[in-house]
Amino acid sequence: MNRLPLRLRILAAAGGVALLAWAFSGALFTVDVTQHALVMRFGKVVRVVDEPGLHAKAPFDQVLRLDRRITFSRPAPAEYLSVDKHNVVVESLATWRIADPARFLATVRTRADADVRLADVMLGEIGSVLGTYPVTTLVAPDGNADRFRDVVASIRTGVASFARAAYGIEIVDVALLHITLPEQNRDHVFERMKAERGKMAKELRTAGEYKAKKIIAEADHERTHIEAEAYEQSQRVRAEGDAEATRLYAAAYGQNPPFYKFLRTLQAYEKLLDESTTVFLPADAEVMRVLRPRPSAGSIAPSVTAKSKSADPEPVVSLVRRGKQGAGSAPASTVPDAGAGQR
């Protein structure tokens, strides 16, 4: 009787503690900052707790947690027809979160399910919106940010209102990405791109060649111009030099005209007479005057005298002869012979 009540009492105490612990732990639950908590009593949602922290409930209530973080769905790309009958393939992105947990739980339950439902809504909405716009609203080379945004905004409002009402999902953002052409158009596009690039290259090349030619022509023109100027300058300098030379010569010869005549005669001989020259001239030819053996009453003697300060004409002739021999032996003999023959 002693042991039994003791054990009973210990058992009762342990049972009481366990019951209390169960009641206590069952009456408390935590809500994470990332979660919605739905308190369910026998399958019915009695309360939605959004405030994170420790909360109390009846021990027999169950808690179901839903993620309340923002997530996103990317429905598979689909082909749409614009109002001007162009096909475009568009991929879409919906950023969303659970706004109405009870509604979400009643209609969708899981996130994967939500992805599927949202994809259907998105495809339908995008199709109906894109069907009212020409393709140039999306694809145009002029920086069409505003029109593009209008399209996206109208898709967003459509999807958002439906998803909020039907699934308790709040659409945070909708975006279009990967706008492409259908697979069967790609080859065509690449062909066209190739052709365009080729044309562009050709144009550039032609323009380059034209430019090169222009530059060459200009350079040629400039060269001709420079050459002409240089020639003109050279001619002028040469003429000036000639004039100067003539002036100097004239000044020099003007100092003693007879000697000049004599010198010129000698120079003429040098030019006229070489080794094989045979000249026939009248004996009184002006050129032969100096070679005459006999001194005539020519004007040479005085001139020679005047030059060499010698009174005797004979040595003058011999002097000339020697000078001739100095220049070349044959003419020296030939000329007197010729002169003799002439006589």
């Binding site: 997530t71 947990p101 080379p141 990405l177």
Partner: protein, 200 residues
């Protein structure tokens, strides 16, 4: 505890024996409990590295945001700590997965330009986490979302530009605009998080 009337003679011996053994056991149990409690409480120490930030949650609610150093929190199941790299630069490919190794070919993403040419664009977004609690608790998969947002912005920009501009003069402008607009999108989305919660 015991009934004194049942065994008056026997009362002393078993009682003392019981008390003695009970006391010794109590001593050991107390010691064990103390050690266990100490061990349990000591699991609350944690360190945050210099390039990290940590967010402490108590019963799921954000309690504190702590910087580098050694800190104490109440052990499980009261407090939880999440650590994020706060200063290191993260990067993600726009529309494609970045290659694992350096120097590998980046696949890029095919985009349609405004004059219906097809271009392959490889763009990489680099970012730092400005607000760890937003990054951890408001967005489900923040890393892919950054890449996807940048992709949508890039699509919108490229589809409004002729190919030659994208290839030549517009490159830097595209980079700047993608950066700016992706940041704006992100701010808009996280601002949405902080708007008053719906209650039903």
């Amino acid at each position: 505890m015991t009934d004194p009337h049942d065994h008056p003679l026997d009362i002393e011996a078993p009682a003392t024996r019981r008390a003695y053994s009970f006391g010794a056991r109590r001593y050991w149990v107390a010691l064990l409990i103390a050690v266990a409690a100490a061990g349990y409480l000591s699991t609350g120490f944690y360190t945050v590295n210099a390039d990290e930030h940590a967010v402490v949650r108590r019963f799921g609610a954000i309690e504190a945001r702590v910087g580098p150093g050694i800190h104490y929190r109440l052990p499980w199941p009261v407090d939880r700590v999440d650590v994020v790299k706060a200063t290191s630069v993260m990067k993600i490919g726009v529309g494609f997965a970045l290659p694992e190794k350096e120097g590998q070919e980046t696949p890029g993403v095919e985009l349609l330009t405004g004059d219906t040419n097809i271009l392959n664009v490889a763009m990489v977004v680099q970012y730092v986490i400005r607000n760890p609690s937003d990054y951890l608790f408001e967005i489900d998969q923040p890393q892919p979302l950054v890449g996807t947002l940048a992709e949508s912005v890039l699509t919108e920009i490229v589809v409004g530009m002729p190919i030659d501009e994208v290839l030549t003069t517009g490159r830097l402008a595209i980079q700047a605009r993608v950066k700016l607009k992706t940041q704006r999108c992100w701010i808009a989305i996280t601002a949405e998080c902080r708007s008053p919660r719906s209650t039903s």
